[in-house]
């Protein structure tokens, strides 16, 4: 109603905004179109075989893996976020810093570490054999780490921060009035959680879990190493072993369709729910102090995910680094690789944030279904496994080079070679396509918490769209911007498959450097590089934690 009255005066030049949204969608459409073209080649003969012997088992494993990871990340992520938000207990302040840190651990590194520790030849089982006098691992039963259960735990404990960060931000800014009112009528904390906190946090949890699951679906290193036959793995074996790239593209695109449908369903399922939180009252609710055994139980509950997701893997890497003399025998190339890694990640993060912000703002300003659909489409890059995405990007990147070379031939008579596909631009484009979903998700969530009335007031006061974005949206979006920047940056640091295939000559990132050792059955030699990824990743994590732990911007303070 209100919107209708004002809209004739407030409509922002829709052409520019539509162009932005279309451009962003096109960026993601390019690799998809080239995958579709590969898939369209056919190779239908492979499907009876796939359906008979491959896909049912792979689908089952994938569903179980995703369900398990969803459970672990939700319990560990939302549980710990709820505890640190609702209560005060020993170690809480340190845990606020520690809980997001597993983000910096690449999944496949965690898998290698835990197999080293818990496998038959690892220290745990060796000690058990010594203790009980068993001579061989055949003499007893020990839960196998290279198993579905092992994969769920390992992946879940390094990916829970996606849920934690989303849940923490949501819990933190949840309307204090609701919580206080409920507390006033004597509701117990767990009832508060069940009836108020969790339902209110559902959109945030959905985003966090979705990111964790898509990250799981992208994984190939950990699941292959742990012997889990996922659908993603079947894409690769269909391409490389069964010799059918079209078949592989068809599986990948089917998976993508399924994922898109699931995400659409989640959004549809909560279409009738409206969330308005912080705007009426941005006061933070004060945490309740816990005492005695309950306080220590809370400490323990929050320490478990930190220990499994971060302290143990990081500790193992430190130990290997020291034992193997990787510091004294420092490989000077690592400095160059670190610089490359940070440079690529920083560039991609800047691009992704800018595009995500532009898309989300455009969607807010032009509330049309077409625009919303384009923005939703632009998030699909995250649902395609990295190597598949990289394969899909090859053609568009080279097509860009063909155009550039054609132009330079016409203009200067000389060709310039592969300035896009053969340079770091290819890697940055790939990161951008893949991680756009994160920044769009964060910006949308952030903007949804900015009351639309603010836009209307700003415009009635004569502010143009640029002014509206810079003076109203950006300050309020600061936590979302930093959150997105952190996740994208750290994801770029860890990214392996796309970097491997698309990087230019003589270029290594820390991830590709570690990979050299891992494929040689000697990943521990890359321990220092893994620690460098973690170190570089921790800095933005600290920054985001500091920001998140201060009060969100109060609309009343806006100029």
């Amino acid at each position: 109603m209100r919107g209708a009255v004002l809209s004739h005066r407030l409509r922002w030049p829709p052409i520019a905004a539509t162009a932005i949204v279309l451009g962003v969608a096109a960026l993601v459409a390019l690799p998809l179109v080239s995958l579709l073209r590969i898939a369209a080649i056919g190779d239908a003969d492979i499907w009876p075989h796939l359906i008979a012997y491959v896909l049912p088992a792979a689908a089952m494993q994938t569903v179980l893996l995703l369900a398990g990871v969803a459970a672990v990340t939700t319990v560990a992520g939302a549980g710990s976020a709820w505890l640190v938000t609702t209560f005060r207990f020993p170690g809480r302040d340190a845990l606020l810093w520690l809980l997001p840190l597993p983000l910096a651990i690449p999944t496949y590194i965690a898998a290698y570490v835990y197999v080293d520790i818990l496998d038959a030849a690892g220290p745990v089982q060796t000690a058990l054999r010594g203790l009980f006098g068993w001579s061989a691992a055949q003499d007893y039963w020990f839960p196998p780490i290279r198993s579905l259960g092992g994969a769920i735990l390992i992946i879940g404990f390094v990916l829970y921060p996606y849920v934690y960060l989303a849940a923490r931000a949501m819990f933190q800014t949840q309307c204090a009035i609701f919580i206080d009112a409920a507390r006033a009528v004597g509701a117990a904390p767990w009832r508060l959680m069940r009836d108020i906190t969790l339902p209110l946090a559902r959109p945030a949890l959905a985003i966090g879990v979705a990111l964790a699951l898509l990250e799981t679906l992208n994984d190939i290193g950990a699941s292959e190493y742990l012997g889990i036959q996922t659908l993603t793995l079947s894409v690769f074996t269909t391409w490389l072993n069964r010799g059918s790239l079209p078949g592989a593209a068809q599986i990948a695109l089917s998976m993508l369709t399924l994922v898109a449908a699931l995400i659409a369903f989640e959004i549809y399922a909560r279409r009738r729910q409206r969330y308005q939180g912080a705007i009426q009252d941005s006061r933070l609710t004060a945490p309740i102090r816990l005492h005695g055994i309950r306080a220590w139980l809370a400490t323990l509950a929050c320490t478990v995910p930190v220990a499994f997701g971060f302290l143990i893997p990081a500790g193992f890497l430190v130990r290997e680094t020291v034992m193997r003399g990787l510091v004294s025998g420092f490989d000077p190339a690592l400095l160059r690789h670190s610089a490359t890694t940070v440079m690529l990640a920083a560039c991609a993060t800047a691009v992704v944030l800018l595009l995500g912000l532009a898309a989300a703002v455009a969607q807010r300003l032009i509330r049309r279904r077409f625009v919303a659909a384009c923005v939703a489409f632009a998030t699909l890059g995250y649902a395609i496994p990295g190597t598949v995405l990289a394969l899909g990007l090859l053609s568009p990147l080279v097509a860009a080079d063909d155009t550039i070379n054609w132009l330079s031939q016409r203009l200067t008579g000389a060709s310039v070679g592969l300035v896009v596909a053969g340079s770091s631009v290819a890697v940055i484009v790939a990161y951008s396509v893949r991680f756009l979903a994160i920044s769009i998700g964060f910006m949308q969530a952030g903007l949804s918490r900015v009351a639309i009335e603010l836009d209307e007031v700003a415009r009635l006061c004569g502010a143009g769209p640029m002014r509206l974005v810079s003076s109203v949206h950006l300050p309020l979006l600061r936590p979302a911007l930093w959150g997105a920047a952190l996740l994208v940056f750290v994801d770029c640091l860890k990214e392996l498959p796309m970097t491997l295939l698309l990087r230019p000559l003589n270029t290594e990132t820390l991830s590709t450097y570690i990979y050299q050792f891992a494929t040689r059955g000697n990943f521990e030699e890359g321990a220092l590089a893994a620690l460098l990824i973690i170190a570089v990743g921790i800095l933005p994590v600290m920054r985001i934690v500091r920001l998140a732990e201060t009060r969100p911007a109060d609309p009343a303070e806006l100029r």
């Binding site: 061989a136 069964r242 440079m343 944030l353 990289a390 080279v398 596909a421 911007l481």
Partner: protein, 341 residues
């Protein structure tokens, strides 16, 4: 807001700078190598080549998709040489149309004809064998056939990585080429029934599992064991196991090549040829033998003493192209018997 804008602008400028500096490298005095072999492993070879020839080597290493990359890059591809392991991958590169014949009387003299393409599209550089890591304590026999791995006496005693890994894929393909698909299926079901655990990990984990007593026999490549025996942390696993060179009944040991192709649009073809010939030369072949623990293909270059300690390698006479031709069937068979499930 303005600081945010400034950050973006700065980032964009940085991006443009990277793009400008890291464009395609195709000057004289250089050679561009795309490789499936880890750059850590081959970098010492390239360094030695540069020292010998003055030609700079630029490298991209990856795990998959390099053929697609070269093919898509087309005429402007900077790739001169593609290094890879596995006969199947070499043949894939040829059928992808990204190769050109290597014409070199020098190479023809050095590399035996069964380890190169009749039309010269690929040349083998080194060999590796797929062998057995056996527990010293629990396995008494010192000889074994691949066929015997399906014998029920090994029930619950065998460890192996995924049947879809290229090393196993080639072994199973060789079995199909020798015995036919029906026999191969029976055999693979037998091996599957003998597994101590689901296939997973890599060859190193397999050796480790044998050492820890999870299984008695592991299947792995020759060089992993040598690398373990030279590594302080991994030596106990090598010490607890012995390497048996298995044979096909009435045949020899399954071997595979690491090899090289010359890219169709190689911008530095002459340098590429120099590198390829150099890789088959004395210096490089000694390095393949002593730092990578592979079997050198050049006659007269001795294998490393650790590798020699396994016994005398008698490669199976089956032509490698027959193995490549059975690879798809091998992948399908692994699916059919649910080997990895």
């Amino acid at each position: 807001m303005f600081s945010t804008v400034a950050t973006f602008v700065r980032a964009t400028v940085a991006l443009a700078a990277i793009a400008a500096t890291s464009g395609a490298l195709a000057q004289s005095g250089e050679v561009n190598v795309y490789t499936y072999r880890e750059s850590k492993l081959i970098q010492p070879l390239f360094d030695a080549f540069t020292k010998d020839s003055g030609i700079k080597v630029n490298v991209i290493s990856a795990s998959s998709g390099l053929e697609q990359r070269i093919k898509t890059e087309g005429e402007r591809s900077p790739a001169d040489v593609l290094l890879t392991v596995d006969i199947g991958r070499l043949e894939d590169a040829v059928s992808a149309g990204i190769t050109q014949p290597i014409v070199s009387p020098v190479l023809d003299k050095v590399i035996a004809s069964q380890y190169r393409d009749p039309e010269g599209h690929w040349y083998g550089i080194s060999l590796r064998a797929r062998v057995i890591y056996a527990s010293k304590e629990r396995v008494k026999q010192d000889a074994i056939t691949y066929e015997e791995l399906a014998d029920p006496k090994w029930k619950g005693k065998i460890c192996i990585r995924s049947g879809q890994h290229i090393y196993n894929n080639a072994l199973i393909a060789a079995y199909i080429a020798k015995h036919g698909e029906a026999k191969a299926e029976e055999w693979l079901r037998g091996v599957k029934a003998n597994l101590a655990q689901k296939p997973s990990g890599g060859d190193r984990e397999t050796a480790r599992d044998v050492a820890a007593g999870k299984c008695d026999l592991g299947i792995g490549n020759t060089y992993y064991w040598a690398l373990m025996s030279k590594s302080e942390a991994q030596k106990p696993w090598a010490d607890a196991t012995k390497v048996i060179l298995p044979t096909f009944a009435g045949g020899g040991t399954h071997v595979n090549v690491s090899g090289v192709v010359l890219a169709k649009h190689a911008p530095n073809k002459a340098n590429g040829m120099k590198l390829i010939e150099w890789l088959a030369g004395e210096t490089a072949q000694h390095m393949y033998a002593d730092t990578n623990y592979e079997y050198p293909l050049r006659g007269g270059v001795a294998v490393n003493p650790i590798i020699a300690s396994y016994g005398v390698l008698k490669p199976d006479p089956l032509p490698l192209s027959k193995i490549a031709a059975s690879k798809k069937a091998a992948a399908a068979l692994v699916d059919k018997v649910g080997f990895d499930n």
